[in-house]
């Protein structure tokens, strides 16, 4: 048995590469089975490039039948299989594990059909997020969830991670915009999940279970997505604040006034400065800046924009700018959308966190992060989805400096711990992957972890689907718990702990 659900431990063993290549080439084209180092290198990590491992074998099946055969082969030979889209994930979710095969869905890149009257699209998992909206544009429709990597990330990966984005505040996460899936389970069976064209499916909500399951419960091979009408108009208001707490209050007051903006984003001084230097969006260099987008009919926007402006003024905004054209709206967003690479320019490396907190905790948590930044001696830029409390602190460090990465990781896990303690979660949209697996121990107790392992065991008894990600073993959490108790024995005991 390679998976033990009572502990959550996995164990796999060595297999013969030549034998596997020969066996897989019986049903895959020669060029779709990669094993030379030069070929497998691109698959050694995802967007979290601090973690790498070269896979022994990469397969690129072209048909559903081939995916089924790969899974059956892996099951019969007890080989871990890691499904992968574009590799833009930020949590190491597709990091190869020891003795694993990476299954790329890159060749599944067709949009099968768009039903404009029913407002849905049936697509392959390897279709890019943005490509769906591009294809639906001629009908006045689009696919709403818009992770910032949307020009590159694939819809299959979006489902696996339950991806978010700026517009999730109003239009929901991936899970709210997926109507149906076809998956290959760990037996190699092809199963339809969710209603697809039907708005309701009988039984448990397995569609919700699959969303965000990070490739541990099945491999997604077809997706039916909801399309919605593109709003008649959209307008952004940019507001500057001299105090970050005022900006936090404005977020709270806008949401509780009954307005649901299409996007409500915040940036702090360091993020504003970096973005401004990078894209020259003419941002005011202040302590905090809000971008609030309203969409809908022209009449709705005008009415709600008046209310938003009043709230911003009441919260001491030092400057309020309204986008007066589509061109200016895009300019306002340009700095926000380029914030991550902009921060990348001012620091050799950065570490992006993804904790989510109740909105009312925003000011407190931002203050604590600033204190931690001082204590760790690492700068931290904040740029985030304020409207739904989803923080993206970017911890600046230098991987070439001894101990800097470890310091950044400790700082990061302290932030996540803070988020959980304030009633939030360790990840709002990036997923747990391998990166936040230790933080899971802080968020969940043993009964929940055992329940997660039981689900994994039920749907994948051999434990071959992306093992070791998303849910930590009990042993791992026990060790961490012990680490927190015995402060004197902590690794990196020279580091300040608080």
């Amino acid at each position: 048995m390679s998976f033990d659900p009572t502990s959550g431990e996995f164990e796999f063993s060595e297999w013969d590469l030549d034998q596997a290549v020969t066996a897989l080439r019986r049903f895959l084209r020669e060029e779709d089975v990669l094993y030379k180092e030069s070929q497998t290198a691109p698959y050694e990590c995802d967007g979290l490039s601090a973690y790498t491992r070269r896979p022994r074998l990469v397969v690129l099946p072209q048909t559903i039948d081939q995916v089924q055969q790969v899974v059956r082969y892996c099951k019969d030979h007890n080989i871990p299989v890691i499904a992968r889209g574009a590799g833009t994930g930020l949590s190491g979710g597709v990091l190869p594990v020891e003795y694993s095969i990476v299954l790329s869905l890159a060749r599944f890149n067709r949009i099968h059909r768009i039903d404009s009257l029913q407002r849905l699209a049936v697509v392959d998992p390897g279709v890019r997020n943005a490509a769906i909206s591009e294809a639906a544009a001629e009908f006045g429709l689009y696919y709403a969830p818009d992770p910032s990597s949307q020009i590159a990330c694939t819809i299959g990966g979006n489902v696996a991670e339950n991806a978010g984005g700026v517009h999730c505040l109003k239009y929901g996460l991936t899970v709210n915009n997926i109507l149906g899936l076809k998956i290959i389970d760990s037996d190699g069976d092809l199963i339809e999940i969710g209603g697809g064209e039907l708005m309701e499916a009988p039984g448990f909500d397995l569609l919700a279970l699959m969303n965000g399951s990070e490739g541990l419960l099945g491999i997604i091979v077809e997706i039916t997505v909801r399309l919605i009408p593109r709003p008649e108009a959209a307008q952004v208001v940019l507001a500057a604040f001299d105090r970050i707490t005022d900006a936090g209050d404005a977020v709270r007051d806008i949401i509780s006034s009954g307005i649901i903006p299409a996007g409500l984003e915040m940036m702090d001084r360091m993020a504003i400065q970096a973005a401004e230097d990078f894209v020259h969006a003419d941002y005011p260099i202040v302590e905090a800046m809000l971008l609030c987008e309203l969409d809908g009919t022209r009449a709705e926007i005008d009415q709600q924009m008046d209310e938003v402006k009043k709230i911003l003024q009441a919260c001491n905004a030092s400057e309020i700018r309204l986008s007066q054209s589509e061109q200016q709206r895009m300019l306002f967003w340009s700095g926000r959308k380029a914030a991550f690479p902009a921060v990348g320019r001012i620091s050799p490396d950065y570490y992006c966190m993804d904790g989510t907190i109740p909105r009312k905790e925003l000011s407190h948590v931002l203050e604590r992060i600033a204190e931690m930044s001082q204590q760790y001696g690492l700068a931290c830029a904040n740029v985030f989805h304020a409207g739904d409390g989803n923080l993206h602190p970017l911890i600046l460090y230098d991987a070439n400096k001894d101990g800097d990465l470890e310091k950044a990781e400790h700082f990061g896990s302290d932030i996540l711990r803070l988020c959980v303690d304030r009633g939030g979660t360790i990840t709002g949209e990036h997923g747990v992957g391998i990166e936040k697996i230790d933080s899971m121990c802080h968020q969940f107790q043993t009964p929940e972890l055992l329940q997660f392992h039981a689900i994994k065991d039920g749907l994948d008894p051999a434990g071959i689907l992306n093992p070791g990600k998303a849910v930590p073993s009990l042993h791992r959490c026990a060790e961490l718990g012990a680490m927190h108790v015995h402060h004197g024995k902590l690794p990196h005991s020279d580091l300040p702990r608080f």
């Binding site: 309701e200 965000g212 929940e448």
Partner: protein, 354 residues
């Protein structure tokens, strides 16, 4: 009181485990007609486990115990100018919060406002090992761990008694307006879906008694503007009609005739049986109710063949979800059931996934 009721439910689950004897989980009984008889000699009554635990209007969330009456939740929200983010049927009885998630029914807003599951942020339950599982939370975005709280939607008590639920709530829109348009059914279905594809604040479309009914909700200006463009007849008792469709209290649903619930591709032209029946269409065509004393299950073969599911919803032996699943879908359900309830103790009469 509340900790006592949690303790009481927990004790009952532990007793069921140690005696290896099945137990059935009951709310107010408002949905009993669709569930059929599932009572075991040992029953867990959830209605005493009630009360709102945490309601934060500025966070747009409400957390309440499973036995809390939906009516109480609706009233509490309304006091602060808010409501549940979609319509959850309370039916004729005193439907509970837990029952709403466990049955997973949604009213007319389904295509626009989503189902109950779309607004679930967190839930607690007791599994078949007697452990209390808390999943999700009270924040809008959370992808840590498998989404157990949403999985519970439609679970019918099979995965364990649900203790509490956190749902997203929304402000009550400034204005609601219902418009009606006389036309035949085929035209109505096409028109509904065309309107749903336009950037207008539509939150429900139904076809009732020869007229397309369309609900607009949103800001005063947004609704007025859309109403002007659409130019339909204003329906004065709109709110009452939509509540009637959601709670099955509309005239169409009265009487003893068997009620069939068809979930169809919204725009499909269905081969309806030619025996005497009445129809009502909701969800832009995605939900079609058929009321008849003349039809039986065999009359729906043609409809099933176009990809719709047909459920005997009220009257006689009602359809169980497992009857609508493929063999492989049942396999997945069986496996999930075992993961939560390995001894198959909860609602065995509702877990025929074999």
């Amino acid at each position: 009181m509340s900790t006592d009721s949690t303790q009481h439910i927990h004790d009952q689950v532990r007793a069921a485990i140690s005696n290896a004897s099945p137990v059935s989980i009951h709310g107010s009984g408002s949905h009993a007609f669709m569930l059929g008889d599932f009572a075991e000699s040992s029953r867990i009554d959830m209605t005493a486990h009630s009360g709102i635990i945490d309601y934060q209007p500025s966070e747009l969330t409400i957390k309440a115990r499973a036995g809390t009456a939906l009516a109480e939740i609706n009233d509490t929200l309304a006091e602060k100018g808010q409501r549940l983010a979609t319509e959850i049927p309370r039916l004729s009885g005193n439907a509970t919060f837990g029952g709403a998630l466990a049955t997973g029914l949604t009213g007319s807003g389904r295509p626009f406002l989503g189902a109950v599951r779309d607004h679930v942020l967190g839930a607690g339950l007791i599994n078949g090992k007697g452990e209390i599982i808390n999943c999700g939370g009270q924040v809008m975005k959370n992808v840590a761990g498998y989404d157990i709280s949403r999985l519970l939607a439609g679970s019918r008590g099979n995965l364990g008694p649900i203790l509490d639920i956190t749902l997203k709530v929304l402000p009550i829109p400034q204005k609601q307006l219902t418009l009606a348009f006389a036309m035949d059914e085929t035209a109505a279905i096409e028109t509904m879906n065309k309107m749903a594809g336009k950037p207008m604040p539509v939150t429900a479309c139904a076809y009732i008694g020869g007229r397309l009914h369309l609900r607009l909700e949103g800001s005063q200006s947004g609704v007025d503007h859309a109403a002007q463009q659409l130019a339909g007849d204003t329906v004065d008792n709109g709110a009452e009609i939509w509540a009637g469709l959601s709670n099955l209290s509309h005239d169409f649903f009265t009487g003893d005739a068997t009620l069939w619930r068809i979930i169809a591709p919204a725009t499909a032209r269905l081969p309806y049986p030619d025996k005497d029946h009445e129809r009502l269409i909701d969800w832009c065509g995605g939900l079609r109710w058929i009321k008849s004393t003349a039809l039986d299950d065999n009359d729906f073969g043609a409809i099933r063949r176009v990809g719709a599911t047909v459920e005997r919803f009220r009257g006689g032996q009602t359809t169980r979800p497992a009857q609508l699943m493929s063999a492989l879908q049942k396999k997945l359900h069986r496996r999930v059931k075992h993961a939560f309830d390995p001894k198959l103790l909860f609602n065995p009469a509702l877990s025929d996934f074999d």
